[in-house]
């Protein structure tokens, strides 16, 4: 599903710009509150490239020498990240981290269990990467969560295809054994090389092509694995993350029925099949929920693409106006004319550099509303990016933390900390302060901030928020003295 081209002016309660995990969950949260919602997105981006894990916050004591860290709960880890990094989105939302469990439950429910989490009050899972390193993560796609290293003891089979380089079973097993030893896990990995890919040219197949091959004939994979299994059978099999292009559950069921061994997928590396699966599952859910997914680009009428004499996007009555959209090479090939947008609230979920939410054009800029882009506690004014990056990949990379700064209600802030509009919200990777690789808050952050932004947007559009904890209230729903002040802003 690529989305429809724009064919008429858009008038909705909530407009979500960006169709990755943050945008999808913002749209679904607003829709659940009864809002009419449209999602406009111009392409796939970081969600479709994700490994299949949904990181919320890393255990602060986890490292290569002590892979399991201090075994803090997910929410404790998020609070720790907020206290250690005042520029992180969790720090801005510190008072609302109590809603993290609700957000994760919401994501799991909305995806019909395709996204599965340990629970915010429990420790992170440990998944195995294709390089054999354990990765701590709160959850992910169910086919990957089934491979949680903390939920198994004894022997695990590290499966590869004997003539294809996607996973080298021997290297994977050796690395997994070393990681298990350091982590003190009662595990032993054994390599299992199956002959599923033996036709001429199979060694050049791309991951999604292998997935299509398995979709076509899962029984052949079962037979291939049956031949490859050692006499001393492992307690669990971890397979390359290519079990299906759409839904790996039928393939996993066939494997488990045919082999009698629980099976799961490894995390994905480049050319992620699970990432595309997640993207497509989210889009299917948007469709089911009655949310229109529009393929196009949004721009401000006063921006570089519009009429310079127009005022910046602003609120008139109950709507935010001054933004427009045009078709972005829609899939039917017809270039649509552009249309005005009228929305009760707008959620910006455009991602960072890959998604196009932050661009470098002399300086770093947010291209739709021209909001200031922050790196640390400074607005970027066109500094040389070499000053914002570190030579060693393992060192912090401030440039990758560039983004929008928000207040506790997820309104993006202007340079002087005022709001552009009380009806504009931001969520996901466009927010400043988070580098998914360094900070370990990836799709989990998108889910949490997307969920909150969707509810805030629904509230701004005048819809009921019964049961929802807004900024200025305690998690129990009691009003605090700051509430009226916050509303009066």
């Amino acid at each position: 599903m690529i989305g429809v081209g724009v064919s008429k002016p858009i008038a909705v309660d909530v407009l979500v710009i960006g169709g990755g995990a943050a945008g999808a969950f913002a749209a679904l949260a607003a829709r659940e509150r009864g809002a009419t919602v449209a999602v406009v997105r111009r392409a796939w981006a970081a969600t479709a490239l994700s490994s299949g894990a949904a990181d919320v916050a890393p255990d602060p004591l986890s490292n290569a020498r002590t892979p399991l860290g201090g075994r803090m709960s997910v929410i404790e880890s998020a609070r720790h990240l907020a206290s250690r990094r005042p520029d992180h989105p969790y720090a801005a939302l510190q008072g609302r981290l109590a809603l993290l469990p609700a957000a994760l439950d919401f994501a799991s429910r909305q995806t019909g269990g395709r996204l599965s989490f340990a629970g915010a009050e429990r420790e992170n899972h440990a998944f195995l990467s294709p390089m054999g390193l354990p990765k701590l993560s709160a959850g992910g796609l169910d086919s990957i969560v089934a491979g949680d290293l903390l939920g198994v003891s004894g022997t695990i089979g590290a499966v590869g295809f004997d003539l294809h380089p996607i996973v080298d079973a021997r290297l994977l097993a050796a690395a997994a054994n070393e990681a298990a030893r350091r982590a003190g896990l009662p595990l032993r990995a054994v390599p299992i090389e199956c002959d599923f890919l033996r036709r001429s040219g199979d060694s050049l197949l791309r991951p999604h092509e292998i997935a299509a091959r398995i979709d076509d004939d899962p029984e052949r994979l079962v037979e291939s694995l049956r031949r490859a299994l050692p006499i001393d059978r492992p307690q669990r099999l971890l397979l390359p993350p290519v079990l299906s292009r759409r839904d790996p559950r039928p393939v996993l069921e066939a494997l488990e029925a045919g082999l009698g061994i629980p099976c799961a997928e490894l995390l994905a590396a480049g050319e992620s099949v699970p990432g595309v699966r997640l993207q497509q599952a989210l889009e299917a859910r948007l469709d089911e929920a009655g949310i229109e997914l529009i393929h196009g680009e949004v721009y401000a009428a006063s921006g570089a693409e519009g009429d310079a004499t127009e005022p910046r996007p602003h609120t008139v009555g109950d709507s935010m106006i001054g933004i427009r959209m045009r078709g972005a090479a829609p899939p039917n090939g017809v270039v649509a004319s552009d249309w005005p947008i009228e929305a009760g609230a707008v959620v910006l979920a455009t991602g960072k550099f890959i998604g196009g939410g932050i661009r470098r054009e002399g300086r770093l800029r947010e291209p739709i509303f021209d909001l200031p882009v922050w790196i640390g506690d400074q607005v970027d004014e066109g500094s040389w990016l070499g000053d914002r990056t570190a030579y060693e990949l393992r060192d912090p990379q401030p440039a990758l933390r560039a983004g929008l700064r928000i207040d506790e209600e997820l309104h993006p802030l202007l340079r002087d900390h005022r709001l552009l509009s009380p009806r504009l919200f931001a969520c996901g990777d466009v927010l400043a302060g988070n580098d998914p690789a360094e900070d370990g808050a990836g799709i989990g952050l998108a889910i949490f901030t997307g969920y909150l932004a969707g509810l805030e947007a629904a509230a701004a559009a005048g819809l009921s928020l019964a049961g929802f904890v807004t900024a200025g209230e305690s998690p129990s729903g009691e009003r605090t003295p700051d509430s009226d002040e916050a509303e009066g802003r």
């Binding site: 796939w44 050049l204 791309r206 050319e271 090479a329 899939p331 090939g333």
Partner: protein, 143 residues
């Protein structure tokens, strides 16, 4: 000393006598034709402003591979001849010299079928237009 004097005299003769006579009476090729005579056999063709814009668009590719996942024509040719639509911005567009290697793909694949792949490209590489342009550039390189 003698060699230097001889060399200087020869260069002076070339500059003051031979070259002006060649300009006046000889067959001289200038500009584009001269470029084509020199480099055309190697597959290099001139790059006008419109071509530069297309090359800049192709340069936006970040090799994420998402387009290949929606390339319905992957597998239509031998893998050695065509490894997915991302090959066009990543390799084929880099130099017209490379075009001859992509001839089989450009001749047999339909650019219109890249629309779905183009619609998911995070950096908006115009894959349909790029494929058409590469065909045109290949024709120019052939002629």
């Amino acid at each position: 000393m003698g060699y230097k004097l001889g060399g200087d005299l020869y260069l002076g003769y070339r500059a003051l006598v031979a070259q002006p006579l060649r300009w006046l009476f000889g067959r001289t090729l200038r500009g584009k034709q001269r470029f084509l005579d020199n480099y055309g056999p190697e597959g290099l063709v001139p790059t006008p402003e419109a071509d530069k814009l297309m090359l800049a668009s192709a340069g936006r590719c970040i090799s994420c591979g998402l387009c290949d996942q929606l390339d319905g024509q992957l597998g239509a040719l031998a893998r050695q001849a065509y490894d997915g639509v991302s090959l066009l911005p990543r390799q084929t567009a880099r130099s017209s010299v490379e075009l001859v290697h992509a001839r089989a793909a450009l001749d047999s694949l339909d650019p219109e079928r890249y629309r779905e792949a183009a619609a998911v490209c995070p950096t908006r590489v115009p894959l349909v237009e790029l494929a058409r342009w590469l065909r045109d550039r290949l024709d120019r390189a052939r002629s």
